[in-house]
Amino acid sequence: MINEMYLSERKIKSLNNNFGSSAPFNYLELKDFFDDSFIERFIIKLKKEGFVHQDSDLFSFYQSNDLIKSKNRIIKQFYDFLNSKYFKDYLFKITNIKSYGKIDCSGFIYSDSDYLLPHDDRLEKRKIAFVFNLSKDFKKCDGGSLDFFKKNKIVKSIIPYFNTLVIFKVVAGKTFHQVSEIRCNKNRISIAGWFNDK
């Protein structure tokens, strides 16, 4: 399911170096990460999952149930892959972080004026946060970027490019991030969640 270019020993070593040296905290942006044809089929099925509008002081977006509950074969296949020992071993190789507990994983749709304000994901079991972007044609001016903070400033903005997996280490009180407000009529669709400790 993973694009072969990410599987060579050389690439894994380079990703490991990049993860360790990235700033403002450890992260990787992995473009064209999964097999394109599978992702196209996955999106069609994902859109059929029930999305519910979630609204609080911190956020406004549409969220699906945890994908573990999905009855769709393709979605189950994707969930099982992310939750597999094979993939968690791969994550360990590129991050040096053990995250062998059950994953949390839901679908998200951010539409016009939706957002997720700055927070650090603090919960003891969360080790690696991930966002897998499924939207096409997003530009910087559309909003929806995943922004990383250092102190009170955004120092890294990741535009949600199609078939891009972003992972970052979760450190309470340090890894502050947000999803900037959507400023267009496009939908930002993603799968996001956490790889947890056991």
């Binding site: 002081d57 004026s113 957002y115 304000l117 009170n152 502050f176 947000q178 407000e181």
Partner: protein, 182 residues
């Protein structure tokens, strides 16, 4: 400055009843447009920003005439002397917010919110929400030139909803006065 309609003794006793029963009351057209413009003059705003907590502009408010008038009005409603703790004007524009955190806890007392806007669209966000036991118990929509009186408790928190890009150049201005124990 207060709309004379609200100075009627009978009406004041009705307002007191609503306040006792609902712990809050919102009085529409409490001031006129001219007054709302006047009150925003000569304010010196300062930006305060902590990404994981808040983003807004704030100014001290020292128009003693209005503060005395409002305090007298409130005292005549609740039939008690009250002591003002603080008075500030807030300005929220696109991208501003206050999240629930330790600093957003209320005190035992009264919070007064006087909206200084002459235009606001509720689709822009920016409302004030009061939370208790993880549930919203009151939402103050920024109705232009309205006065909201809220009986607050330590167990309550509040937040201000993120103001979205549809607000354009519109800003929510409001005077917030906090009174201590009743």
């Amino acid at each position: 400055m207060i709309n004379k309609y609200y100075l009627n003794t009978k009406l004041k006793s009705e307002i007191a009843k609503v306040l006792t029963n609902d712990f809050s009351v919102q009085l529409y057209n409490f001031i006129d447009e001219k007054c709302s413009k006047l009150l925003k003059k000569k304010l010196k705003f300062k930006k305060v920003y902590a990404p994981n907590s808040f983003s807004y502009n704030i100014s001290n408010f020292d128009n003693k005439g209005l503060l005395v008038e409002l305090t007298n009005f409130l005292e005549s409603i609740i039939n008690k002397k009250i002591k003002m703790k603080s008075a500030h004007v807030y300005c929220f524009s696109a991208g501003d917010y206050i999240l629930i955190n330790n600093d957003s806890k209320e005190v035992n007392g009264i919070k007064v919110i006087l909206e200084l806007n002459n235009y606001w669209d509720s689709n822009h966000g920016g409302f004030t929400s009061f939370i208790s036991n993880n549930k919203e118990i009151l939402r103050i929509n920024p109705v232009c030139r309205s006065l909201s009186i809220i009986l607050t408790k330590k167990s309550m928190s509040s937040f201000i909803k993120y103001i979205n890009h549809h607000s354009g150049n519109n800003k929510r201005y409001f005077l917030e006065i906090i009174y201590g124990k009743i």
